[in-house]
Symmetry: none
């Protein structure tokens, strides 16, 4: 619609086109965009004004400006994980034909932030907004396992009074962290198993967990392997979309 913006973006596109190349000359850009040099120059001048493109003084070449990062960081800061997760969760639920949940940590509990039910589901297990202590269920355990260890320890100490049980519980966490998933059988709801994987934010911190709830009687070894795989994959997809840098 607006030609200048189309052209400006085609220039930006050229600047992002090659991972290894960091700076470009005007004539290179003109050639790649098939625009006249003078036009490229004028557009770049405008873009420079806003820090979208920067000029390297020594070589007079151009590179992407810092504004992209500046605004990008702001978006990362308040990205709505829920909306992002929803898309992925719906796909997953449709594929595996089971209910899918998204939990986020808050204090010593996790809150059920989102739920997608499969058509197969007889009844939904977790209610939206429900608060579940972090040591209960596969989803919450993956959160604990991926939290800052000291904080995890403090949380467990607050949740489990008996020191012996505390130690016993803490033992499982490293493995969960290592494997990238957790499985639980009927911890929260009788007759329901849960397969969970962590969602990691842009700053490498765990921001939630995705889990699949399955009636225990349906589970076979083969299905379990598939579900683990799919849960990990979907959690990673969400992590990526909310800006985690792998």
């Amino acid at each position: 619609m607006v030609q200048s913006i189309d052209r400006a973006m085609s220039i930006i596109l050229v600047l992002t086109s090659d991972e290894s190349k960091t700076h470009w000359s005007i004539s290179e850009i003109a050639e790649k965009t098939s625009l006249p040099i003078s036009t490229v120059h004028r557009l770049i001048s405008s873009l420079m004004k806003y820090g979208l493109i920067q000029q390297i003084p020594e070589t007079k070449q151009y590179k992407l400006g810092i504004t992209w990062m500046e605004i990008g960081l702001r978006i990362l800061d308040k990205i709505d994980m829920r909306a992002v997760a929803r898309t992925v969760m719906e796909q997953l639920a449709a594929d595996v034909r089971e209910s899918v949940y998204l939990n986020i940590p808050d204090g010593h509990d996790a809150i059920v932030l989102e739920r997608v039910e499969s058509s197969m589901t007889v009844r939904s297990i977790d209610n939206l907004g429900e608060r579940i202590p972090l040591h209960i269920g596969a989803a919450n355990k993956t959160i604990l396992a991926n939290m800052e260890p000291r904080e995890a320890e403090r949380t467990v100490m607050a949740l489990i009074p008996d020191p012996e049980q505390q130690r016993e519980f803490m033992k499982q966490l490293p493995a969960i962290r290592e494997n990238g998933y957790a499985v639980s059988y009927g911890e929260k709801t009788e007759g329901t198993a849960s397969i969970a994987a962590p969602i990691i934010g842009y700053n490498q911190r765990v921001v939630g967990a995705l889990s699949i709830g399955v009636p225990t009687y349906r589970i076979t070894e083969e299905l379990l392997a598939t579900l683990i795989d799919r849960a990990k994959q979907s959690a990673k997809e969400i992590s990526k979309r909310i800006g985690a840098t792998p």
Copy 2:
């Protein structure tokens, strides 16, 4: 030079103007930019094409698009300081149990590049991507103090109009440079003190500043001494690590 780009950026600017507000209606944007509604609409349509702006289907309102993050992350990737810094920052935050920030200079401001919050933190103070003038706050002052003196002077002259205040301000810089740290009380945020130390790149140039934010009421002389020590130490650690791999 190119009007459309100027106008487009003024729209983007509105969308970034308020930290708390995440989505805007066309008429709000039109009013803020003093542009006709139809013009705003046309520009937004073009910007949407590139994911620079997204529309929320339910409310028909607009928000910043993910392209900013996408391109921003590419640039971030090239700044390997961030990855290096994060490790050190997380350790520091865990140890001192306060929030830790990383600022990098750009023009007359610094940008908040990374933030690690302690579990103790009530609320985060600085937002990622936020731009703060270089004469405000301990972190930015350490940057100024370690910049090339002429450039620092030029920056201060641009930021502070009053010549008397300029001179007054410049006086503190040599001491900051000498001591290797700066402390500020509530310069940027009421009730929050900041302890900062410079990060020096492989070419002996200041590339950023690490700072610890502490509620003023928590500060004692003893704690202050510790935090100064830890800030200097961590900043030096980061400097060393980015110096080793230029």
